[in-house]
């Protein structure tokens, strides 16, 4: 039940409540009716008894020395259907109503009280006048007939009540929850790219309106912090790139200065390349921060994957030569892709660079691509020590390098950039295999991003 939709839960709770209410109502009715019916019964019986004694009293010449004359006809009809016994002063039974098979036990109590006779609860009272004693009463079940009928009728209504409340409250709950569902859908449309959107606030003043206002305030704060971080990257890039531009111009002047010694120029050349590296790091960090904000701008074009990979494979072959690596490529012709060709090139370059970097002399690199279900899958495999299992999860972390220290060049952003760029296209980069001898990465890009 924990996983049920809210409206089902509400429906079940209210059905349970309705059944409990019906049951409670039935019990109360039964109890109240019993009370009222017994009171009415007592009153009726008392009246009948009075009528009986009046008839006996008023019977013409009915009085003998030994007391009043009793005739069966004196017993009122309304009394006969109950349990009635008439005795004279000496205790001899003068009349027994048909339903009463034997005289009442003598308990000496006059007022109405309950008495167990033959295993039945019988309500009985004793009236005496002029030497005649009338005992009358009835089975409580007979007295409480209506109350019991109502009770049973209400019990019988429970399945109907259950059904109606179950369906009815599902409907009511759906109606009540509908605004929540609308909020969910509207909120799901608000993404990093469209943070300026807000949920429409209904004109009502209810809990839902309050919730929406609260959510809108949260989105407001979220948007502000997103914009802040985006502005920060723009500002940071300006504040980093302009000094780098100055630095670069400084170094270029040294390089071009014919009065400088050769060794100075050689050092300046090294510096120039370091500046290039520095600006690449800045560029990569910017790209990652844009990816985090969901603001990578794609300049899409339709192109053949093979054309973009040409240069990357050329690099691999060139670098492979001194390391005696074998490069195998299986890229079908006319494998069309609609994506940002520059970014696809960067993804491939980063992965192939790694395949060279973490290879063993005399090893192998294999680059494959094919179309699979509307996506292009590119796998890049290489021989090498492989990535230890416990580190595979860290592979796409920024600034993470499997082999630490200065042995391997690079700044550990290549894989995370490849992954972010693939994700910006709606694809991904994954490590599919890495054991002692072979490591394989797979890039998946939708053919139309």
């Amino acid at each position: 039940m924990r996983n049920w939709p809210l409206r089902w839960k509400i429906a079940h709770y209210s059905a349970g409540l309705a059944v409990a209410a019906t049951l409670g109502g039935a019990m109360t009715t039964w109890f109240v009716m019993r009370h009222a019916e017994i009171a009415a019964f007592d009153l009726r019986l008392t009246t009948d008894a009075q009528e009986f004694f009046r008839d006996v009293e008023h019977f013409e010449g009915g009085r003998t020395n030994s007391g009043p004359v009793f005739k069966e006809i004196f017993v009122p009809l309304s009394l006969r259907k109950h349990l009635v016994e008439v005795t004279n002063a000496s205790g001899a039974v003068l009349y027994l109503s048909p339903r009463l098979r034997q005289p009442f036990p003598r308990d000496g109590i006059k007022e109405f009280h309950n008495h167990k006779i033959d295993g039945k609860n019988v309500r009985v009272a004793e009236f005496s006048e002029n030497g005649l004693t009338l005992r009358a009463g009835d089975d409580l079940k007979e007295i409480n007939q209506i109350g019991r009928d109502i009770f049973l009728a209400m019990l019988g209504a429970i399945p109907t009540v259950l059904l109606i409340t179950l369906f009815g409250s599902t409907w009511v709950a759906s109606k009540a929850i509908a605004p929540v569902e609308e909020i969910r859908q509207a909120a799901s449309r608000i993404t990093a790219q469209r943070l300026d959107q807000r949920l429409p606030v209904p004109p009502t003043n209810d809990e839902i309106a309050g919730l929406i206002e609260m959510l809108n305030a949260t989105f407001e704060r979220l948007q502000r912090s997103f914009e802040q971080s985006a502005r920060f990257s723009a500002d940071a890039s300006h504040h980093l790139k302009t000094p780098i531009a100055i630095l670069r111009a400084d170094v270029e002047e040294i390089l071009a200065d014919l009065n400088c010694s050769e060794s100075t120029q050689a050092r300046a050349e090294g510096l120039l390349h370091r500046i290039h590296h520095l600006s690449s790091v800045v560029e990569n960090l910017l790209l990652l921060s844009r990816a985090d904000a969901g603001r990578v701008e794609l300049s899409q074009a339709e192109f053949e994957l093979g054309e973009v990979l040409e240069g990357v494979l050329d690099d691999a072959l060139t670098l492979a030569e001194p390391l005696h690596l074998t490069v195998e490529a299986d890229i079908p012709k006319h494998l069309l892709l609609k994506a940002d060709p520059t970014f696809v090139g960067i993804i491939a370059q980063n992965l192939v660079e790694n395949a060279v970097k973490y290879n063993t002399p005399g090893g192998r690199i294999r680059v494959e691509a094919r179309a699979v279900n509307g996506a292009v899958e590119m796998t890049i495999g290489n021989t090498g020590d492989g990535i230890p299992k416990e580190r595979a999860g860290l592979l796409f972390e920024r600034f993470y390098r499997v082999r630490g220290g200065g042995r391997v060049p690079g700044h550990g952003l290549g894989l995370s950039i490849a992954r972010e760029l693939a994700r910006a296209h709606g694809g991904d980069v994954e490590l599919v295999r890495s054991d002692g001898s072979w490591t394989e990465m797979r890039v998946r890009l939708p053919q139309v991003a």
Binding site: A234, S237, H238, L240, K241, T242, I244, A245, I246, L247, R248, A249, D250, E252, E253, L255, A256, D257, L258, N259, E262, Q265, A266, A268, E269, L272, H273, I275, H276, H277, S279, S280, E283, N284, L286, R290, E297, S299, E310, G311, L313, D314, D315, L317, T318, L319, T342, G345, I346, Q349, N350, E353, V356, K357, P409, G410
Partner: protein, 236 residues
Amino acid sequence: MSGAFADGGALTPEPMEILVVEDEVRLAQHISRALTEAGHEPVMVHDGETALGKTDLKRYDLIVLDVMLPRMDGFEVLRRLRAAKIDTRVLILTARGEVSDRVTGLGLGADDYLAKPFAMQELVARVGALGRRFPEEAPIKLQIGDLVLNLVDRKLYRGPRRIELSARELMLLRVLMREPGRIFSRTELCERVWEREHEYGLKLVEAYISRLRKKINSPPLIHTVRHLGYTIREPE
């Protein structure tokens, strides 16, 4: 900047009066020096309002305009220039390098766009290209002596001999042949050939240059300028 980079005869442009709008004084000075070296007459200003004041008084041949300026940014300066019907060519400099920035800049009527940090030679070359009275049509083929590169079918001939090129060799040769005589540092070639820094870029540039030299054969056209880089030029 003395003569070393500037001795490419093919680059000699017509002298231009250029307004350099850049708030970083040091960078503005570098740009002015490089433009002066190239034979132009640059004027430096460091904010947008001053720039608009200058263009009100005088017509410049070209404006080099930084985007991130204090108070009024470069885009706003450009908008006001165009609103005032000043159609001077504008080269935008930006530190942001985002596609949308480029689109904004070109949409506002900028003529070219250069992302920081740039090679000063690149700036000079772009300025030179913008300064030509008639914009150059993209050439169909590039030629240095008897070396002819057809850009349409990507075929290279040395005299009658056809030379096969790999993808990167072609990219590299194209960069060199577009500006014969200009010395490209190895770092600049790395930037031109690869979209992002390649970890083995310098090594690759050397490898491709040596392969190109072998393929082009003698007399040599690609020359190493010690500590400066490479250049392509006709044999003397």
